[in-house]
Symmetry: C2
Subunit: 358 residues, 2 copies
DNA sequence: TTGAAAGCGCTACCAG
DNA sequence: CTGGTAGCGCTTTCAA
């Protein structure tokens, strides 16, 4: 690779016959500089295609225009769709993003990063990012490890921090709950309305907040409608296709009859469908399914997947907005709730076809 | 948010009654420090949980331990699976990653980032990353924009640069070709062996290198087997499910008979299957399909997708390795070729069931 | 082995 | 409006 000769503000100053202060002024465009000098400096800047060193800048101005995002697994559509929105918004505000996949819990892929989450926290501090966004991971566990809490607290003491996950006491950051489970309720009601009475719940990792919220909402729905709660009808595992497959197999092996199920997301729904298919059970003819978390391709699946749109992209956008505000000192501990919407497609059969399932 | 009091090397030096030089020495662990001072300093460091400011460090040492990765769309499984490997390896080597999605071409999602790719290049330079990896994007176009070339050249002049994409002359960086199309050949031969003679090609963006390579390989196979090339059987679009859907609809509208098709990847295959299904055409009974690029969930699809595994994860690993080597001055312009492997599942019917398709 | 001091490239304050 | 200068927090000579 070629010799890298970095030109600096001093070079520009020399060549334009002004002081570096003046160059700095035109660079930042806030102070006033006489037109002729301005022109001269701008010319030299353009000539060398000069752009100031962000490290040096950050060292003194205390801001790097970089944000940290820590999440479990970007290959999960849930996170990637959110991330895209996050990055877009960050970019508009002039920030770039340091991304860390902790691969925590996403053990489905069999891979796992060697570093603990606290490693990433420290890195964010060292690299002086202007703020950090944490999405899920350890934090999503119902019981959070104490070391983790400590590390998180330390991070929050150093940097503006926004977290999508369960609130932890005594940590000075903004916690945002991803959802309230109302979508699950809607989905359940829809299945009920179609005549289903034995409805299972499939997928999602045990002891993870989001799973918990949804399972609770599911149980809640059962109670509201005066139906019995049967733990045998709940089969958890994880969030990926293969997990839907295994969870459904587990469920089937229990031999408890059901006519419909809620899947934690589209991937799980698809995996579960495969497991059913292996037993010659067809969706929607034999079993109906609604996924609690819409991904982008459900519309092209056979059958087209009826799902709940939880509006992650919006969540992403709001969340990064909150972080940027927090960086600027605007500390709104807002609660977002997006009305989740039921997208009725084909996986429950005819939209209004009531049937007496037995 | 709390007051952020940053403690610095000076604080540590004071509290341990040594000079900052000494603290720096224990921090870096290269020079020798007397045992008692070492112990004292280490204690104070631990007490305050001190970790040096990476900006200040980078400013002087000329390395930030940060790598830049620029790719079109992380929500595309092709990139996300590769990225995960890239990050893992980078992490092991002590680097963190600044990720930029250009959303170039990924217009399927309807979103598009406002910034040009050269914006990201400049950002990488400003932020002083130690090296940059570019995957696809503009660079994948058969005809690359001149401004882009200029910007890329500038980047390559400043930083170690590794690119997955087509080679561009006069730019001092390492170009890596993602594949040679041999997988497509294998797939084609398999279809031929099953008795298919009218084989279509579906999906992939026109004038993008990877599409080009595969289409050429497809045409090449046709010629090798003495079959006629019919441009009507080639229906391109993009790389997502919805694109497979539209591309297949286009193909069907041409009314040119075919009994099998190659899909540019699993997503496209699934979208195409939906389009066929809408016309009461079933896979594999009526039409067979092989996808040229395996994603993780094809195994759970109905029918299970026969695909080619192009080993992106390995590519990711090799590529980041090459970058890190380049940073360290090891300039191997290696050529990787992973033997792509045909994963036979169900989407072509019985593995060896020859049939006389007419 | 150790500390003083000179920067890395930039911003921001100061006096003029 | 402008230039000089004092740092930001760290590494790295250079003497001692």
């Amino acid at each position: 690779m070629a010799e890298r000769e970095h030109i600096t503000i001093t070079d520009i100053a020399k060549e334009s016959n002004v002081s570096i202060s003046t160059v700095s002024r035109v660079l930042n465009g806030n102070a006033r500089v006489s037109p002729d000098k301005l022109k001269r400096v701008e010319e030299v800047i353009r000539k060398y295609n000069f752009s100031p060193n962000a490290l040096a800048r950050g060292l003194i101005s205390k801001q790097t225009k970089t944000l940290g995002v820590i999440l479990p697994d970007i290959s999960n559509p849930y996170f990637s769709s959110m991330f895209l929105e996050i990055e877009r918004f960050a970019l508009e505000a002039g920030y770039s993003i340091l991304l860390c996949n902790t691969l925590f819990g996403g053990s489905s892929h069999g891979i796992r990063n060697a570093k603990e989450e606290s490693y990433y926290f420290q890195m964010m501090i060292d690299k002086q990012v202007d703020g950090v966004l944490i999405i899920g991971g350890q934090l999503d566990l119902i019981t959070v490890d104490n070391n983790y809490k400590l590390a998180l607290k330390r991070l929050a003491d150093q940097l503006p921090l926004v977290v999508i996950g369960k609130k932890i006491e005594n940590i000075d950051c903004i916690f945002i709950q991803p959802e309230n489970g109302s979508g699950v309720l809607t989905a359940f009601n829809y299945l009920y309305m179609l005549g289903h009475r034995k409805i299972a719940f499939v997928g999602g990792q045990t002891s993870v907040t989001i799973t918990d919220i949804r399972v609770n909402s599911y149980k809640n729905a059962l109670q509201l409608l005066g139906l019995p709660i049967d733990e045998q009808l709940i089969s958890l595992s994880d969030y990926y296709t293969e997990d839907g497959y295994s969870a459904m197999n587990t469920l089937l092996s229990r031999k408890v009859p059901f006519t419909a199920f809620l899947a934690i997301n589209d991937s799980v729904a698809i995996g579960a469908q495969r497991a059913l298919f292996d037993q010659s059970l067809k969706i929607p003819d034999d079993i109906a399914v609604i996924s609690c978390d819409q991904f982008l391709t459900g519309e092209y699946h056979i059958p087209r997947l009826t799902s709940i749109n939880q509006h992650h992209d919006m969540l992403g956008r709001m969340v990064i907005n909150t972080l940027i505000n927090a960086i600027q000192g605007i500390n709104e501990s807002a609660k977002f709730s997006f009305t989740s919407e039921l997208v009725v497609r084909e996986s429950c059969g005819t939209p209004l076809g009531f049937r007496n399932y037995t």
